[in-house]
Amino acid sequence: MSLSRKQILILCFYSSAALSQNSAPIGESKRPPIQGTKAKTSGSTDAPTTKDSKKLNDSDPQQKTSDKNQEDCLKLFNRYAVPYKDLWAKRPKDLKIEDTDGLNLIEDMTAQHCQETETRKEFITLLTKLLNQHSGKIAVILPLTTKIQTRHIIKGSKNLDPKNVLIIYDSVSQLPRLESFLSEAIFKHRASAIVAGYESSELLTLNEVSAKFSIPVFAINNPQPNSVKNNFMYYTHPTPNGIAQAIVKANKFYNHKKISILRPNDQHSDNIARELEIVAKSEGVEVLHNVSFDNRRADQMERAARQLFKLAPNERLDELKRLFENAKRHAAAKGQTFNPRMVALQPVVLQDAIVILDHFKSVRHMAKIFTYLGVRKLPLVGHFEWRSAGLVEPFDPVFSGSYFVDIIGNYSAVPEGLRVPALSNQPLLISHDKVEQLDFSMIGYRAVQTPVNLSMAKSKPRRKLDSLIPRTSGISAEEIYFNDANTINWPTYQFEVVPRGSGGSIILK
């Protein structure tokens, strides 16, 4: 579908108007609304929005003088031509495009072209095509050879690709390659949407491209701190906040109002713990401790655990001295040798539960350290990294009644094609070597679900595809929508550890 001349002129007008109002760099969030448009309340965009376009389409094109056209063209040139030229220059060297659409114009384009009516028209036409036309293809650009789990993402993506609309690129975790493939996807394939952004370092580029080219980008990642919101940039990865919400929800379900957090000293655990503190506070759950540890060292784990129960060195020195004296007297009275190792402070347990944001192996060791310190029974709370047969086999009764949350519920409910057989003796668990594969398949599956839907709306200009992105919660938890921060929803599920025979099992609550 091609735009009418009238539409092109409207676009030019719009573009020039927008440019006149916004000379700030792309990505800046606060700027005055363009003339005749309504300012958005949240986030910002450099691309024309659906509402803006509608208004422009409905307006009467009164300004048709040549000077005015030139001026508008220049503004349009300044806004689009520069980034288009940049991206065009980054196209693969061996890229072959039939020059029917006049793409070469981009390469040679200068401000002078706006002075010539004919070339100006060509330029406007080209821009219009590039912004509006889309082929129904989806470019998936992932570091396939450097990040092996992205292959599972591809598998999940393809599960939703019955019409073979995906174009797969391997970025090899290199930004120039990403840009090169973006160029190819946009200029050659006229992609309807892009799925990329597995590497956080790619997000800035993707944000810019999505805004400049009005192309929906679905990043397999979380928004970066201080990233600029843009109506064409979406995030499809599970979020620390989502996990934190689920944990607090479970805390409340079990009426655990005081919790302590133990986390390994890595960035992603720190992110979840930070979110957990915020969410817990807002939900009335008190966080007594938030302590990190090195899960490679038993002494550090023990030290972290001691902090939770007032067993840190010197914390109760007087009490410890009294215990020593009593034990000495007791041994002397019985004629026994005093053994200082038998003297230990009793733990002070103030929390209702302890959240351990670490994998099941670490948690099992931590639970033994708790027992070692004299903590007899305390519900332990975890997240998706707990979900393993290793948590319950061999069974440690100390875990009975503990619970954790996950982003995947019953494995039998996973979309067909991605489904993995459950363990014969643990219906809610799968083989450990399939877990990561399934996780990333599901991430891929959910990441392409919206783009695939968008790709089918070929009649809709690409720059208006954002209006098709679901924004409200669906009927089922699995249905996809994006929140105000353009972040996808992930369902969460709550599991409990229960004894079963001489062993243990998990149940879905």
Partner: protein, 683 residues
Amino acid sequence: MKQYIYKILRIGAALSLTLCLALAYYAYQWLNQIGAFHLEESRITSLKHISFSDNSLVFDRSGNRIGEFFNRYQIFASIDEIPKVMINAILAIEDRQFYKHKGVDFSALTRATISRIRNGKITQGGSTITQQITKQLILTPDKTIERKVLEIFWALKMEKILSKSEILEIYTNALFLGNGAYGVAAASRRYFGKDVRDLKLEEAALIAGLFQSPSRYNPAKYPARAKKRQKMVLNAMQKAGYINKKQLKTALNAPLQYVNYKPVNYETAPWFVDWVRDNLSKVLGDKAKKIESNGLRIYTTLDPDLQIAAESSIKANEGIFSNLEKTTYIDTLNESGKRNNARIESAMLVTDPTSGDILAMVGGRSYKTSQFNRTHSAMRSPGSSFKPIVYAQALLSGMKWSDVIFVSPVNIDNYKPRTPESDFLTETTMLRAFYRSMNTPTIEIANKVGINKIIQLAKNLGMTSPIKNELGSALGSSDTTMFDLARVYGTFTNKGRKQDLIGITKIETSDGATIYERPLPSETAVTVVPEQLAFLINEGMRSVLIHGTGHNSSELAAIATGKTGTSNESSDNWFCGSTANTVATVWVGTDEHVAIPGNVTGGGLALPIWDTFLRKAIQTRPAPIVFPPKGVYAARVDSQYGNSSSTGVKMWFFNHQKPQDTESPLQSIQPHTSGVYRRVFSH
């Protein structure tokens, strides 16, 4: 006048007669009173039985004499066995008129008496050999008139009852001649290290000189005096015509080659000989009375080659012991106020598991330094060498070698055993915990299966020492003996059949009558655990050598199995290892139970000794091949995570057990990495 004189004479005679009669009467009364007329003949005839009093002898399994038991060091030699030169020497110096008098040489006695009256002291002896026998063997050595008179009476009577040969035989066999020796044959052995029949003139003369005063002329202490006395004897022999001047000169100039007396008991297996003596009463019961002197012939199980191998293996590590002694202290202070260094001791017991035979026993580094038998009498903490019992009970209770345990600090009722920190935060199979001798998994297993059952099994397997009813016993906190451990390891090696340890196979009297013979091993073996279980434990102990704390001796794993043991602060260091026919238990520590610094272990201290020993032992005692019994099978299993794996270690299972087929989820995160199981947020 004459009549008057005769009258006086008659009166005098009458008075003299009366006086004589009175004297005679009183003499008679006095002699009667001191018993001179009531000499019991049996006391003389009993002296003849001295020939039946003999040392008891101990022999090893090859028939070598390794010990003698005696109150008095005595070797009987009949008069025919005693060489002429010895007899002549004795007669020349002690009783030249022996064959002429009737027990008392009155002329010699008179000379001695006159000499005594003149000089006021004894300058020459007047007692015959017969009198000396009565003085030494019948009467007391008191120097009184009564005793001297009785001596004469006894001597006279003895000569009537015994022949001269019998008297001489008693004299040459029964009298003390110094250095513990009684009789010339014993003296010949003690001083010259030779049989009495092989004595030379000068040697016989020296021994003959000892009769008068064995201590005064003891050549070991007073060689110059002894030589002077020997010269006196030789001169007497020449004067009596037994030798000529040339012989005299030659003998006087001949050097005397004394030997350092080394009792046979000390030569081969001193601790074992001691143990045999202590054990005789147990074997013989009431018949054990007078063991030392009733001439028993005691045949034992000791293997001389293995005994030598055991002793030399400990000696081979003397350098290590010396180095450790520089930094190992006991609590006492020396003269300069510094703590005294401890002596590192070591012991080894070698047994045959199939029969219970004690093949070698080394109770310490030096018998001369310490006769304390550490194989039998020392109560020591066995440390991890107790663990095979714990794991045996675990297998009996339904666990299997591939079961997985999380290795973390353990606190059970305030009991907090230690395990090397490097093992924490790892997971392990039961077999790996066993061969690496991890403490916390062992305690968890013991807690799971029950310490009471473990203690009962220990008793069944052969432990006789009391075991404390507490979890710490699972790590060997209850003291025990090397004998106990040898029995337990022997039971595992002997396919679950317990044999008590024995050292004596047969006891005969000196005339060849058998008074004790051990029962056949097949009659004494008691099956206490299934053969399959014993095999699984033994194979577990083979893993100790292949992969575990005994890997420094992995070359021996093809034929041997074993387990290390180290008690708290390394005060006891063990290695208990075996082949199919030999169990060797080695201990290194101090008698004061003090800590040995330097992180030493059973694997570092005891294992090298065991290794050295076994390499020597198999030269003379090849190890038979062990075949698995029915009802067990082997599989390759990942040693950490317990699942079947072609690259895993070999584990043995009961037929009804099976390792996990699928890869363990635990493998998804490597130990001691900050690995992530599901990298949803960490890519």
